[in-house]
Amino acid sequence: MRTWAWILQRLSGAVLVLALGLHWFVQHHVDPGAEITFAGVTVKLKWALYLVADILLLAFAVFHGLNGLRTVVLDFKISRSAATVLTVVLVVVGVGAIVYGIPPLLAFLRG
C-alpha cells in the first residue's frame, strides 16, 4: 500500500504538471485580461476533449492532494488505528469532492 501510494503520487503529480498547466493557461492566458464568464466556460466545456480533461484534472488533483495530506500526517508517526481512520476519512472526502465537482461542470453545458 505504501509503495502504491508513492508510485501513484508520482504519476498523478506528473499528470497534474501538464493538466494544471493547461488549465491555468486556458483560464488566464488564451484571452488575457478577459473576465472569466459562464458563457465563456460553456464554450470551452462544449469541446468534449476539454470536458474530459477537466474531469480528469478534478479526479487527479483530489487524489494527489489528499494522498499528499495523508503522507504528511503519517510522517507524524500516528498509531495504526488512527492511520486507518485517516485513510477512510480521506477516501470519503475525496470521493465526495469528485462526486460534488462533476455536476457543476455539466451544468455549464445546459447553460
Binding site: 503529480g13 497534474l16 491555468w24 488566464h28 485580461g33 473576465e35 464568464t37 466556460v41 465537482g101 457543476p104
Partner: protein, 130 residues
C-alpha cells in the same frame, strides 16, 4: 555544541539554524502542498456553488477579480509553480537522476520558479493598474 530538544530530537535536520537547501526544498514542498489542497477543496466548493446559475457565476468572477482576491491568486501561482517544479525535481531523483548534484538542481528550480512567477504575477496584476 547544540543539543536537539523537543520535536527536533526526533528530527535534528529540522533545526532552523541548521537547515540546508534540501530541507528548505522539502519543507516548502509540504507547506505549499497543504496550502494548495486547502485551496483545491475551496475551489471545488466555490465553483460548484457558482455554477448553479450564469448570473451567480459571473457575479462571483467579478468579485474574484478584485485586488484582494487577485493578490491571493498570485500567492496561489507561487505555491503551484514551486510545488510543480520541485515535484519534477523529486520525480527525477526517484528515477535516479541528479541526486549527486541535487543542490544545484534546487537552486535551478528556485531560479526557474522565480522567473516564471515574476512573468505570471505581472500579467495577473497589470489589469489592477489599467
Amino acid at each position: 555544541m547544540y543539543k536537539p530538544q523537543g520535536v527536533f530530537l526526533r528530527n535534528p535536520d529540522l533545526v532552523p539554524a541548521y537547515l540546508r537547501p534540501g530541507m528548505w526544498g522539502w519543507i516548502l514542498h509540504r507547506v505549499t502542498g497543504l496550502l494548495i489542497v486547502f485551496y483545491l477543496l475551496l475551489h471545488i466548493w466555490v465553483i460548484g456553488r457558482a455554477a448553479l446559475s450564469p448570473q451567480a457565476f459571473d457575479q462571483i468572477m467579478v468579485t474574484l477579480g478584485t485586488p484582494f482576491w487577485r493578490v491571493l491568486e498570485v500567492g496561489l501561482l507561487a505555491c503551484v509553480l514551486y510545488h510543480g517544479a520541485n515535484g519534477i525535481r523529486i520525480i527525477l531523483f526517484d528515477l535516479g537522476y541528479g541526486i549527486r548534484t541535487h543542490r544545484s538542481w534546487w537552486y535551478a528550480t528556485v531560479a526557474v520558479v522565480v522567473l516564471v512567477f515574476i512573468i505570471g504575477a505581472v500579467q495577473m496584476l497589470m489589469p489592477l493598474f489599467a
